[in-house]
Symmetry: C2
Subunit: 205 residues, 2 copies
Amino acid sequence: MRKAPSQARSRALVGDLIEAAALEIAEGGLQALTTNRVALRAGISVGSLYQYFHDKDELIEAVSAVAADRLLAALNTRMRGFGAHDMRSTTRKVLTEVFDILQNDALHREMLRNFDLARPGVGFATLESVMTEAMRVYLLRNQAKYPVANLPAALFVMVNAVQFTMARYLRGGGGGAAGGISAAQVVAGLTDMLTAYVESAVRAA
Amino acid sequence: MRKAPSQARSRALVGDLIEAAALEIAEGGLQALTTNRVALRAGISVGSLYQYFHDKDELIEAVSAVAADRLLAALNTRMRGFGAHDMRSTTRKVLTEVFDILQNDALHREMLRNFDLARPGVGFATLESVMTEAMRVYLLRNQAKYPVANLPAALFVMVNAVQFTMARYLRGGGGGAAGGISAAQVVAGLTDMLTAYVESAVRAA
DNA sequence: CCATAATACGAATAATTGCTCGCATTCAAT
DNA sequence: ATTGAATGCGAGCAATTATTCGTATTATGG
């Protein structure tokens, strides 16, 4: 951020700007995001925008940071009260919820549709690292049960397999390569695949 | 294509244009691809470019089609003489080769770096459908051995898991989330995951 | 109140770039 | 050779858009 807003009005202004940018993305995609349009929508001058964001990219980053936070918060809420279960149930639950959240939020839908998914540094790096960390802890804790070899590589493969397959499905919108496959089926497939992978370590050992 | 080149010189021109565009992408990424630059590089006028390509996107599509063909051809060559093996060996072989091809070709590297991976319709749709089809045939043929349930969904999950995880790794360039993981380890992980998934169907049945 | 810093404004700028169009050149058929 | 079609040219148009800067307004500390 170019300059930190110190007064209350400027903090509100920055918030409005991010919100307007989010709406703009949600409606017309990234291509519709013009600094002038955002300012117009927020009822703010472009000049003020550049007072707090060094350039357009910084604004977009701010939006995706907010979106990532929202996603994580929503997931946390939905997982509350879901106690300790076996890996399969937990995996299915998490995937189902994330799917549902992403599917029912216009901003997230459009972010998925418009962001370059393979560059998660921009957007969902937070979710990715949280997921990776959660799995690492789980697998280390249950090392006796699931002695996964080469944990870093396994985590990389699993996390990426999940997030991109989901993103791809949500993008496809039912048509294309995903024709006729339901979200539940994708969740089931991913769950089975991850579970089989982790459990295969047992027989290998 | 706006107009099919009928004379020899115009066919050559179109070829030069695509080649120049490929080089342009390979060097500076998609953002460096201006119709004017491409024409300049090809030693051809922009006007001529627009004689054969309706717009910039059509040119990019042509480039990615050529790239996809090249990838497929290279893979075919490398798989020649690789007879019938079990699923694990075959999977490992294919993944290893594809990895190697993608890693050692500037155009492919840049395409991966710059294309929106989750929109394979643009680029690697050919590879995707070939892979999907090959797996479908294999799994149907070995239905007795690997009675995979819900084949379409399973194929979708497997193919996407593979292609995006690979793409992500190749993009990361060793740093970032893929820090310290080797290509061989990623291939091993993917191979294990796919194999475990398919084989888990046996126990489920 | 005053002075000064912070904030806000928005018309104008500057650069980029996809694409067209009128004209020139080359080919192919007769 | 001739002629019409195909091909090739490239300066320039038109539209978009990120960003700046001189000015006006509002807050804050003394």
